[in-house]
Amino acid sequence: MTGHPMRKLSLGGFLMMLSMPALAAGDAAEDAARWDLLRDMYFKDRPVEEAGNRMRIDAPARAHDAALVPVRVEVDPSLRLKSLSLLVDKNPVPLAATFRYGPASAGSTIETRLRVNEYTNLHAVGETQDGRLLMTQAFVKAAGGCSAPALKDPQEAMARLGRIKVKLPETAGAGSAADAQLLISHPNASGLQFDQVSRTYIPAHYIQSITIRIGGQTVLEADTDISISEDPNLRFSFIPVEGGSLEVTAQDTKGATFTRTVPLAAGGG
């Protein structure tokens, strides 16, 4: 796909984000200043419009687990986006993911799970087919998600690493939109989790790209980062193809590639 609206965040930008002073939570002026900075960093001089009722973020106002905050970006079905970027403003790496929609996508609504490090705004920025940027935001109360030791059972998690599960509706008629859920078993280590015994940070090790295709056509391509929770999880919609299979490829930062192909008739996996 072309027209990717993001520049990869430069190292200089990354360090600047880390070294920004932490101010009192709930300070609206500071939140606005933070967003101005992020917008300039990621979208340069391009105008960003309020999406109004065409896009909406659905997230719990207060998260039950800061390392696993379910977030759904609802996009009006009439609005076919070229791409969608999801940002957690105050996280050490704010850009959680960028999704690029392909011809086999059936709509731009996306659901995933995020780590949230402190009380923060979330921003979703959609790029329309004609290159306009539309933005919506939501405030989430959660803290500690990036450094939280979320792995409840590390041995089991490592044994499962790379396993991909795809949940499909029982009937996916060719041509009409269908919803699917993708789960990838991966610790998605943020690099910010400290181990007191070894006195070191557990090295970052996370899924950085996901591609979903059906019958050779792209549904979705995602660039993902450490703000995505362990066991990355996506809900999306696609257009089924008669006799087709959903093909998933994911790559992590150590260069490992994980793949899974699920025939539509199987209805799950």
Partner: protein, 304 residues
């Protein structure tokens, strides 16, 4: 004693904090077995972090301390209580699992060997900084100061027996349940089981390991020939194995409820809104823990 209390009072006025050095109240629930009952609440200034049941077993030659409380100060007060009840020294500190309300009093037992589940060291090491920060938020920096670094001198892989002098206690490490490092302590002489947080009463069970694993462990625990148990949260002593019933019912409701939502293709938010709601009036701290339990269990059961 009187002088010390007055001195403590003066110091506490100076520090604008309550006097923290009186011994902890304990109940002798069976001969030589003492339990301090924590309050059923989240750690907060009004309870000084005293939210878990902790205790000790007195043998012929030494004392086994079973969990040490949520702050170094609670550990010191427990140590004073032990000294007021027996002239035998603490010879072992046993931690039933990694949670801060059970282990942060370890600081008061410098020099006493610490025994825990084989997974305890790594699990606590990964979390202790987060726990310490949270405690400082809850109780203030002073109460959270002086927390001992992680130390597990004797990891238990399956089962270990410790002789306290004509009194053998059996330590059993369990598969992932409440956490991935749950350990129980059984005193054969009186048939008393220190269940740690594998047993909750009144306080809603908190799932920080595996709900399904916990149900399996409950089945195994039920076969332990105890007559009474000490829950990690709840009354100081309860009948065994009947005391397992409420938490088994809750965990079954949780697991079945989440499975139903998953089967219907529902989301975490839907699960949080509906699962185990009929348990709400039967527990304290339901609103604090049920949403987290549902979230964790949803993420666990998605892989079934």
């Amino acid at each position: 004693m009187g002088v010390r209390l007055i001195l403590a009072a003066i110091l506490s006025v100076a520090a604008a904090a309550p006097a923290w050095s009186e011994p902890l109240a304990v109940t002798e629930i069976a001969p030589g077995i003492f339990v301090h009952q924590g309050v059923i609440a989240e750690p907060a200034p009004d309870n000084r972090g005293d939210t878990a049941n902790i205790g000790f077993i007195v043998g012929g030659s030494g004392v086994a301390v079973i969990d040490t409380g949520g702050t170094p100060d609670l550990g010191r007060r427990l140590r004073e209580t032990i000294a007021s009840r027996t002239d035998k020294p603490p010879v072992v500190v046993i931690n039933t699992h990694m949670h801060p309300d059970h282990v942060f009093g370890n600081a008061a037992f410098d020099g006493v060997p610490v025994v825990g589940h084989a997974n305890l060291r790594d699990a606590l090491a990964a979390r202790i900084e987060v726990y310490q920060r949270r405690l400082a938020d809850e109780l203030g920096a002073e109460a959270a100061a002086g927390i001992a670094p992680v130390r597990v001198d004797r990891p238990v892989g399956e089962e270990v027996r410790i002789d306290l002098g004509d009194r053998v206690i059996v330590l059993t490490a369990h598969p992932t349940a409440h956490t991935n490092n749950d350990l129980t302590v059984f005193d054969r002489q009186t048939g008393t089981l220190f269940a740690g947080d594998l047993l909750f009463l009144d306080h809603l069970p908190a799932v920080d390991g595996s709900a399904v694993g916990w149900l399996r462990v409950i089945d195994a625990l039920g076969r332990i020939p105890a007559v009474r148990a000490v829950p990690g949260h709840g009354p100081p002593a309860v009948d065994w194995p009947g005391a397992l019933d409420p938490e088994r019912r809750y965990l079954n409701t949780l697991v079945e409820g989440v499975r139903r939502v998953l089967k219907a293709g529902g989301s975490i938010q839907e699960a949080v809104a509906h699962v185990a709601k009929d348990e709400q009036d039967r527990w304290l701290l339901f609103d604090e823990y049920n949403p987290r339990n549902v979230t964790a269990t949803f993420a666990e059961l998605e892989w079934e």
